[in-house]
């Protein structure tokens, strides 16, 4: 996927003014948050599982070569083939090579965020294969020629109306009626995709966990599209990344307790499948070939750096669901595959800080993401590290550096700080009265803070500063 993160300021602004996006995000907002809260509170030792998951991932990351080699030999022992890809081009080449046979025309695909990193679909289409995304959300955005805007709900930015129009446009020719109701929309997708499932030659899925001890891939879905993709065609290819390996089956249970709850507020997702090699000789169904493509694509470079913690991420999406920036601007504004807090940490590492200079600032440092993250990634701290690095690299704007310097001088001197802040709030109040720019206690516009007030109101501050009020209260006591 092309990196557009450099334009963050522009795309974020555009997103804030997009009425359809606001409707879609408004409908989705809260849903994930509330259901997650309920099921998390129900599990007494959620915190213990978080610590377990953090420690397990840290351990594996410290011995990644050992666990990956073990995983590889166990996949081979069960009859599968492992391919190592250090970057996106290699993945595309490997997958095209596997598929290049005269009888192979159609490829179904289960959701795989990793494959979005290097536009695998485009690569396959360029090699003349027909590629069909089968997760409903992914299918919708494939028709719309868009990219996912959330790592587990890729079409969260689409309204129902938009899907109705899209299906009408693409399915009408095959004789399907226009569908308006949610159930009818899902049914129509079910029918259309059934044809593809049953006629596909190759199925490509992602993987959520790689179990070193058994050489299994754990894949988690709710729709069941992953299993139909994996088992109906003759060839099953898993495209997944190296940091997803965990030691053994005993560890899997802990991660599953965290993942369903954190992602969608489910005690367990509907389908958790462990794939091990191709069909056995006397099995009645299943693929004849099983390939695992292990993708690095920059991850090993993050190992051992101050950002290593981000490699623990299990892609649950909780951080973005709880992020006030993400829930207002949606995923596309972030300009690359991964949005929200985890995206703001990961994107600069994977595409270069210079190509995503604004992402570390797309954060209010409110800390909710860190509180909900099931593997305890200190997201705001990592964003702060990015900011530090950007300043040290001289990548921040001169105006910003100058402002920080002034602020530091003022803040170091308590008297000066008190004087300046009380002057500023008084000035704001007088200004408000003079210009009559405020309504119902908020400003519609503030000079020099236009970026804030163009999309939201700013409350009129009280006439006294916090320090002033504090002193006054002390005195009256």
């Amino acid at each position: 996927m092309q990196v557009q993160s450099k334009n963050f300021r522009k795309t974020a602004k555009k997103a804030l003014l997009d009425a359809d996006l606001r409707v879609a995000m408004g409908r989705a907002e809260g849903g994930f948050v509330d259901t997650r809260k309920l099921v998390v509170e129900e599990l007494d030792n959620f915190q213990e599982y978080r610590e377990f998951a953090r420690d397990t991932k840290n351990h594996v990351l410290a011995h990644l070569d050992y666990y990956l080699t073990k995983f590889e030999s166990n996949v081979q022992a069960s009859g599968g083939q492992v391919h190592w890809a250090s970057n996106g081009e290699e993945v595309n080449r490997i997958v095209v090579d596997i598929c290049k046979r005269p009888e192979i025309k159609k490829i179904t695909k289960g959701k795989s965020m990793v494959s979005e990193e290097f536009a695998l679909n485009a690569g396959l289409e360029a090699a003349d294969f027909q590629v069909i995304e089968t997760d409903l959300g992914e299918y919708i955005i494939q028709l719309a020629n868009e990219t996912p805007s959330h790592i587990i709900a890729p079409a969260v930015h689409k309204t129902k109306q938009a899907v109705t129009d899209l299906f009408d446009e693409y399915h009408r020719e095959a004789g399907y009626p226009r569908v308006v109701e949610r159930l009818d929309i899902v049914n129509q997708a079910r029918q259309v995709l059934r044809d593809h499932f049953c006629t596909a030659d190759v199925g490509i899925t992602g993987g959520n966990f790689l179990i070193a001890d058994t050489g299994s891939i754990a894949l988690i879905t709710n729709e069941g599209n992953g299993d139909l993709t994996a088992n109906l065609p003759k060839i099953h290819i898993v495209v997944t990344s190296i940091e997803k390996v965990i030691p053994d089956m005993q560890a899997l249970g802990g991660f599953l307790r965290l993942l369903g709850r954190s992602a969608t507020g489910q005690i367990m997702s509907v389908y958790t499948t462990l794939f091990n090699g191709p069909k056995r000789i006397d099995d009645l169904d299943g693929p004849e070939e099983f390939h695992v493509v292990l993708v690095d694509n920059g991850r090993s470079e993050i190992l051992g750096t101050q950002f290593q913690d981000i490699l623990r991420c299990i892609k649950c999406g909780a951080c973005m669901n709880h992020c006030p920036v993400y829930t207002n601007i949606g995923g596309h504004a972030y300009g690359w595959v991964y949005p929200g807090p985890m995206g703001s940490v990961l994107t600069p590492l994977m595409v270069g800080q210079k190509n995503a200079p604004d992402l570390p600032y797309a954060c209010t440092l409110n800390g909710r993401c860190k509180t909900v993250c099931p593997v305890m990634i200190p997201l705001p701290d990592l964003l702060r590290k990015h900011r530090n690095n950007l300043v040290e690299m001289g990548e921040s704007k001169r105006f910003q550096r100058w402002g920080m310097w002034v602020w530091a001088q003022v803040a170091r001197n308590p008297r000066l700080y008190f004087l300046m802040t009380s002057l500023y709030v008084r000035k704001l109040n007088v200004l408000a009265r003079l210009l009559l720019v405020f309504r119902r206690g908020s400003f519609k516009h503030i000079p020099m803070l236009g970026a804030w007030t163009s999309t939201r109101d700013f409350p009129v501050p009280s006439t006294a500063t916090f320090q002033g009020q504090w002193k006054k209260r002390k005195r009256s006591e």
């Binding site: 499948t273 462990l274 009645l284």
Partner: protein, 160 residues
């Protein structure tokens, strides 16, 4: 737990009671009592009178399937399916209605106690928790996305 995840559930005394329960369930869903059944010894040995049955792999024309669960996980209401020549994978995903037979003696309390029972891994281990669903249209749940629209568990109490 299984009903909490939107599956339906009933208990019977022995394997011999399964055909009647399955028949009743399908008729209740207004589906004709024709099923494709996993060729496991437990299921092939039953007298399926009243139902039209076939023991083979499911295809897209089959509306209903009957499968034999390897185990059940009480903590999450999860069915455990282990693929083999007696248990084809497609039975769990292609038909619209899936009836799963689970022996009570095969219930484990949590996943950690399941793994030691499985031994060497087959092609797939399917942990199934409720019917297929999606929330991809405006985050509202709709059942029957790609897999079965309904999942009915028949729990067999007897040990034999």
């Amino acid at each position: 737990m299984h009903t909490r995840v939107q599956g339906t559930f009933e208990g019977v005394d022995s394997l011999q009671d399964v055909p009647l329960a399955a028949h009743r369930y399908l008729v209740g869903q207004s589906v004709s009592p024709e099923v494709v059944i996993s060729p496991s010894p437990e299921l092939t040995s039953i007298n399926w009178k009243g139902l039209k049955v076939e023991f083979r792999v499911a295809n897209r024309k089959d509306r209903s399937s009957v499968t034999m669960a390897f185990a059940g996980i009480a903590e999450t209401g999860t069915l455990v399916m282990v693929s083999s020549k007696q248990s084809p994978i497609n039975h769990h995903f292609l038909p619209e209605f899936n009836i799963a037979v689970l022996k009570q003696s095969k219930l484990v309390d949590c996943m950690e106690n399941l793994w030691p029972l499985i031994g060497e891994h087959p092609r797939t281990i399917n942990l199934i928790t409720g019917p297929s669903k999606t929330a991809d249209i405006e985050q509202t749940i709709v059942y029957g996305a790609h897999g079965p629209r309904a999942l009915h568990v028949i729990l067999v109490r007897s040990t034999c």
